[in-house]
Symmetry: C2
Subunit: 354 residues, 2 copies
């Protein structure tokens, strides 16, 4: 097997020395790129794009052609698992994701099975294999999944929500039912991520988009516990190389110490936390990924450069930092500004790796 | 002047001894009450309700007739100030608030004046006076305002937002312009709250709904600094009694120490933070108000009671706790469940005040 030509991401996630800080952006393949919008239109629906390995590969590669990013991330959606469970995922224009059959009762929970990734989610694994072939070892490929709690919020609500009334109703009124559901989802995520690793993913990330809406106790019991279960069940090596695992709970910065104790290699950090403080709190247990406010990309390139410099200075000297936004890049950003970010990270970070 | 018949709220906010923990609920006058919906319909638009002192008084009193709450809170909207500045507030059904004239340019900022509360916002002061007369010293009345940063987000965006692209664009690209705007808004809020106090508000609360979307540095510079300016400018006494000030930044629990240093009497705490930890962090500088997850009200009364007991135990013995939700009560809650919360707080808290 050929070695990776650019292995900065993997090395930084494992806290090994690098020449400059690696950088990628959450949602780097997405709506801010006109070439993405073109393929998206051509594909038909959003799910038509996700389920077509050739088109998923094409949009995965798009930002890499524009910017000297240090990683590719699989283009997909976090809701592929509940869709494969038979809940009937669809997208209403401007409304976000919906499920035809939300999970509300014990019978609904009992009916949930663990999807076989190489059959029901084969389109994802085919995309991973195709992207790996296309990347040809130039850059590492990141695979991902939603966290069990985050997937459960959509599965129970049946749509996006501001109040989380159904899933929190279940959490407070029937906690054991929700635990059963989360266990099934966690086993599904473990199998799904292991299949992505077998298909070629060289690092994996678990997105806990909604962990931050929980109380500290409920976060531990209903979100972190199941991410821990996944981390413990993952194949952490492929082709003789370590496969780092990144956990990201948006709004979860109060709980970094507990997240670091899961055995994950790295934590995603949103922009509400000072990276110097975060590093101090987790010590040398994990690498950190983040944490520029995505809204900085609304400012002109010279200001983006200043703000990049601030984030780099906050992390300081040494490896263990993967530069990223604190959340996904927003659709109304000028692609030039994303390029300014990537260049600034490489140009300004060498001093921290001498 | 007659003394307050129930002064638990004021005493707890000032960390003086009480017999039981006082309780009120953010948005206690609101859509979960059928009697509110009736008046709301009768009024016409939401702003027709806010600008009619008799109807605003009527809905302020509604929850007090149902539940043994320890405080009334003025029924109004945080966006009355920008409306009085001439931005043209209106509400689209299901869309949240909008402004006809958002503030985007230096000319827009320069055109902003500080409204005179007794003329442009007289309807609010008339409502305060009428509610005080109607309460007849049975319970204290809480006045309130949005924080300058929170008001600025709506004023610059012109509507609700998920990305805060315009206001953060201004923050990063033209920080001095935003500072000028925030200073004008802070002076307006100070005058507005002082007028509410003069009209009869016995405690005031500043709602910083969107402070949590800022980075730690930007929170300090663009939100906390202006709340500090307001706290320093408030009349903290009326009729020989102290008027406590409460600061609440949703998602701001990482910054409690800095908030406590503003000189406010109390901090609102959302449900993402353990109240025992919050108390330990702020020490005896401030009282704490919160912090039950509003979604607990989707559970049946026996579970609500258990969760109330947990919050009370977290705060522990002694005064300085005002029980509240961690955010506003949601429209789809059964009013019976709100009643279960209020009763549980009074019944279960006496043991902490012996």
């Amino acid at each position: 097997m050929q070695p990776l030509q650019n292995d900065r991401l993997i090395r930084a996630l494992l806290r090994q020395p690098v020449d400059v800080t690696p950088v990628w952006m959450m949602r780097q393949a997405g709506r801010y790129l006109p070439e993405y919008l073109k393929v998206r239109k051509q594909a038909g629906s959003f799910m038509d794009l996700c389920t077509n390995p050739e088109l998923a590969c094409e949009v995965t590669m798009q930002p890499l052609e524009r910017f000297p990013l240090d990683a590719a991330i699989l283009f997909s959606d976090i809701l592929t698992i509940p869709d494969a469970m038979g809940l009937g995922l669809y997208f209403e224009t401007g409304e976000g994701p919906r499920f035809k059959k939300p999970v509300r009762t014990a019978a609904d929970v009992n009916a949930l099975g663990v999807p076989d990734p190489e059959t029901e989610l084969r389109y994802v694994m085919d995309a991973v294999r195709l992207i790996r072939r296309t990347l040809d070892n130039r850059l590492p490929l990141i695979g991902f999944s939603g966290s069990p709690w985050t997937l459960a919020t959509y599965m129970v609500e049946g749509s996006s929500t501001k109040t989380f009334s159904h899933v929190k109703g279940m959490l407070y009124s029937e906690p054991q039912l929700l635990h059963r559901m989360l266990d099934t989802v966690a086993r599904s995520v473990t199998g799904y991520l292991n299949a992505q690793i077998a298909a070629g993913a060289q690092a994996v990330m678990i997105f806990d988009t909604w962990g931050g809406v929980l109380t500290p106790d409920d976060y531990r019991d209903f979100s972190l516990q199941y991410m821990q279960q996944i981390v413990s069940g993952l194949t952490r090596e492929a082709d003789g190389l370590q496969v780092p695992v990144v956990l990201f709970t948006k709004g979860g910065c109060q709980w970094l110490e507990a997240m670091a104790d899961t055995g994950a290699d790295a934590l995603g950090i949103d922009w509400s936390t000072d990276l110097a403080m975060a590093r101090k709190r987790v010590g040398d247990r994990v690498a950190l990924q983040g944490n520029l406010d995505p809204a900085v990309l609304y400012a002109p390139p010279d200001i983006i450069r200043e703000k990049v410099a601030e984030v780099l200075a906050r992390f300081g000297k040494g490896s263990g930092h993967v530069f990223n936004l604190g959340h996904g890049i927003t659709p109304d950003v000028d692609p030039e500004n994303a390029g300014a970010l990537v260049n600034a990270v490489h140009e300004l970070s060498a001093q921290y790796h001498q």
